[in-house]
């Protein structure tokens, strides 16, 4: 049993015209203490919706199916009643743009103390002291608890947002694009902090981002999402050096590398609409190696190696899925 088990999660959004958008289509993954996992994909692939589902924070027009088990208990079973005790306390989240979401009229310390008091983790002076310790943990002097967000730089605000997410000593931290608006140097500082938290506190980290190099540097493994599904997941090294889904390979090929000499190629076309049924493989129209079967039959995610799964028919044809990178 893993610390957090996400099993076949589906999310549908009701659209104003009465139709439904199938945003997340059967996503499953596990994570253990100290693990660092990336959840990557283009915008609209369902990565943020997936972790909002785990947090039980989906909007009212969403329908949810599947299980999220924390220490074996399905926390989605009783809706809000069963999620609430775990939210922030066991599973916490850094929202995209969190640095801009701090309350401008409350001191940073007050904002860190708030969740502690709500969840009876600490109160009064003890909570205030804990807030100072959390700030130190993320690299801000403890005395800054009395300061307001506008007195902080962007990087410091992001650190404060991380301190807030850690207020109730969670076991799982979901970080949604935690460095997207930051400069590379500040990004490096924040990523170093997140890796340190996973290593030192045994925090299970799920890093949601569109930025493959960031995941490559921070995470041991990753799940690549496309059109609401995980199309490949496995150890980071294998995803880069021996991808088993063309989307993973093309996504890396579309990302310029500092020292890479090879041509950077964009992926033609756009992801499919999720408010209608998709026949065959959702990536088939953009794929550079699709064949007849891909048009009619959707591939299932299945094992292609040790802790390495992919959803591609090419893996059924021996030897075809090997890539240029693997050969070299």
């Amino acid at each position: 049993m893993s610390l957090l088990e996400v099993r076949d999660v589906h999310v549908w959004f009701d659209l104003p015209d009465g139709s439904q958008l199938h945003a997340v289509q059967g996503v499953s993954f596990d994570i253990d203490p100290g693990d660092r996992m990336g959840l990557v994909g283009e915008s609209g692939c369902g990565k943020t919706t997936t972790i909002l589902a785990v947090m039980g924070l989906l909007p009212a027009n969403a329908t949810l199916a599947g299980e999220v088990r924390f220490n074996g208990e399905n926390i989605l079973e009783g809706g809000e009643d069963t999620v609430r005790p775990h939210r922030w306390k066991d599973i916490s989240m850094i929202f995209q743009g969190a640095m801009n979401a701090l309350n401008p009229v409350k001191t940073v310390g007050t904002q860190i103390v708030e969740p502690m008091e709500l969840h009876d983790v600490a109160e009064g002076n003890a909570a205030k002291r804990a807030a100072g310790e959390l700030l130190e943990l993320v690299g801000i002097p403890a005395k800054a608890t009395d300061r307001y967000p506008h007195e902080f730089s962007g990087g410091m605000r992001q650190r404060a947002a991380i301190a807030m997410a850690l207020a109730c000593q969670p076991k799982v931290l979901l970080a949604d694009e935690p460095t997207t608006a930051l400069d590379v140097m500040v990004q490096a500082q924040i990523l170093e902090l997140l890796v340190g938290l996973a290593q030192d506190l045994g925090l299970a980290l799920i890093l949601v981002t569109h930025d493959l190099p960031v995941v490559a540097q921070v995470c041991e493994r990753a799940a690549v999402m496309y059109a609401g599904e995980i199309v490949e997941k496995g150890p980071m090294e294998e995803l880069f050096h021996a991808p088993r889904h063309p989307y993973t390979r093309l996504l890396f090929a579309a990302t310029p590398d500092l020292y890479g000499d090879e041509q950077v190629m964009s992926i033609p076309g756009a992801p499919p609409r999720l408010d209608r049924e998709i026949v065959g493989c959702p990536f088939q129209p953009r794929c550079d190696s699709s064949f007849d079967r891909c048009k009619v039959e959707a591939p299932m995610l299945r094992a292609v190696g040790v802790s390495h799964d992919a959803a591609c028919h090419l893996n059924d044809r021996a030897g075809v899925a090997t890539t240029a990178q693997e050969l070299s």
């Binding site: 400069d183 140097m185 170093e192 490559a216 310029p256 500092l258 020292y259 890479g260 950077v264 964009s266």
Partner: protein, 404 residues
């Protein structure tokens, strides 16, 4: 100095955010144009009075001579930026003004020099606040330079009046970061592309303009053009919007294209396409591109030369591959070390600089990088290093550090 003048200095910093920077005085850009005019008078008046005026006065004499000595454009590089300085006045507020609180200045661009030829792409890279966007805005005369010169085809445009600038604006076009905001949502793609032509009187009738629009769409690879010409921006994806913005900048046949973070708002899967498009445009040999980016990997891949900026200065510049593979300045080295690499096996130990870029109001004395520099020596606190060639083997590769 009156309050109007002051506010004039402060407004233009934000730029106009519209496609086709050529539209000063045009129907949609009226507000921006007045902002720029205001900036001119404001800055001049302020410099005469303000503390930062000395540098301005010195170089002012230099620029007066420039028009006479300017060569005829045949051999001059497309763009030559010399010792460019741009400052913004800090708002003192009503109380501050009445109390005669001393005027403070932000030196956004503090002595930047570089050249660009036709067919070339130079990337200005650096963290936010390093002055890369201010450099571009000064080049487009959205804000006025305090001193220094910007020569386009040998002609100094730094001191031109707005009327004189107007024909030149055809030659210099800009592509903005956010295609979700830079396109007018009420304009069809065809109208967006037509607007700069109407402002500059390109094309004698609708038919000719239509032909030019179709050609521009083809060059921007929005094919077939009929499919896009009557669409509204909201019907397009991010990548298609950015292509429409590029098409609008191409109808005037600019020689100089300034692309400010052209792909940072776009999805990874379409970025390469936009960058390859820009790469192809300058490879025709008729156009030079200044690309502003914070992404060193993109710069290394697509630019011929990279100029690394820190606190308003270029601290290192040279051929892209040399700067990336053989960095000389400690700042460049640190910056490169924190760029995430695609290959998980390439995990290097990032050399993380503590803190963030200092405020350009109080630029540190001596080398401006010394407070964060891992190898700074005592003399770095007093000597302000100049760009110089660092190795005989790489004659075009310069760094501003006394230790190299």
């Amino acid at each position: 100095m009156s309050r109007e003048e002051q506010s004039g200095v402060e407004t233009p910093a934000e730029g106009t955010g519209r496609v086709g920077a050529g539209g000063d005085g045009g129907p949609a850009d009226g507000g921006a144009a007045t902002g720029i005019t205001g900036a001119g008078t404001g800055t001049d008046a302020a410099i005469a009075e303000g503390g930062g005026g000395t540098a301005g006065a010195e170089t002012a004499t230099a620029t007066v001579e420039a028009p006479g000595t300017a060569p005829d454009g045949t051999k001059a590089p497309l763009l030559e930026v010399r010792n460019l300085v741009t400052k913004y006045a800090i708002h003192r507020g009503l109380v501050g003004t009445i109390r005669r609180k001393p005027q403070q200045w932000v030196s956004a661009v503090d002595g930047v020099s570089f050249t660009l030829d036709r067919g070339e792409m130079v990337a200005l890279v650096g963290e936010s606040g390093c002055g890369k966007t201010s450099t571009a805005q000064t080049m487009l005369r959205m804000v006025d330079a305090v001193s220094g010169s910007i020569l386009v085809n040998g002609q100094d445009i730094t001191t031109l009046e707005h009327k004189e600038m107007r024909p030149l604006r055809r030659q210099i076009q800009m592509i903005y970061q956010d295609p979700y905001e830079s396109l007018d949502p009420r304009f069809r793609v065809g109208q967006t592309i037509e607007e700069p032509m109407l402002i500059h009187g390109v094309g004698k009738d609708d038919n000719e303009r239509h032909e030019i629009i179709v050609r521009a769409l083809l060059r921007a690879e929005l094919t077939p053009p009929e499919l896009y010409i009557d669409r509204y921006p909201h019907e397009l994806s991010g990548g298609q919007r950015q292509r429409a913005a590029i098409a609008a900048s191409l109808v005037l046949d600019p020689e100089l294209l300034v692309a400010d973070e052209p792909v940072s708002m776009l999805d990874v899967s379409v970025r390469a396409g936009i960058l390859t498009l820009l790469d192809g445009l300058r490879r025709t040999g008729k156009m030079g591109i200044v690309m502003i980016t914070h992404d060193l990997s993109t710069a290394a891949h697509f630019a011929d030369r990279i100029a690394v900026m820190y606190l308003g200065r270029i601290v290192e510049q040279g051929p892209a591959k040399q700067v990336v593979r053989n960095p000389q300045h400690p700042y460049t080295k640190a910056l490169l070390s924190v760029v995430p690499k695609r290959d998980p096996r390439d995990r290097t130990v990032p050399q993380i600089l503590q803190g963030e870029t200092p405020n350009p109001i109080n630029v540190p004395p001596g080398c401006r990088f010394h407070p964060r520099c891992p190898v700074a020596e005592p003399r770095c606190r007093t000597i302000d290093p100049e760009l110089h060639v660092v190795a005989a083997a790489e004659p075009e590769h310069e760094a501003a550090c006394i230790l190299v």
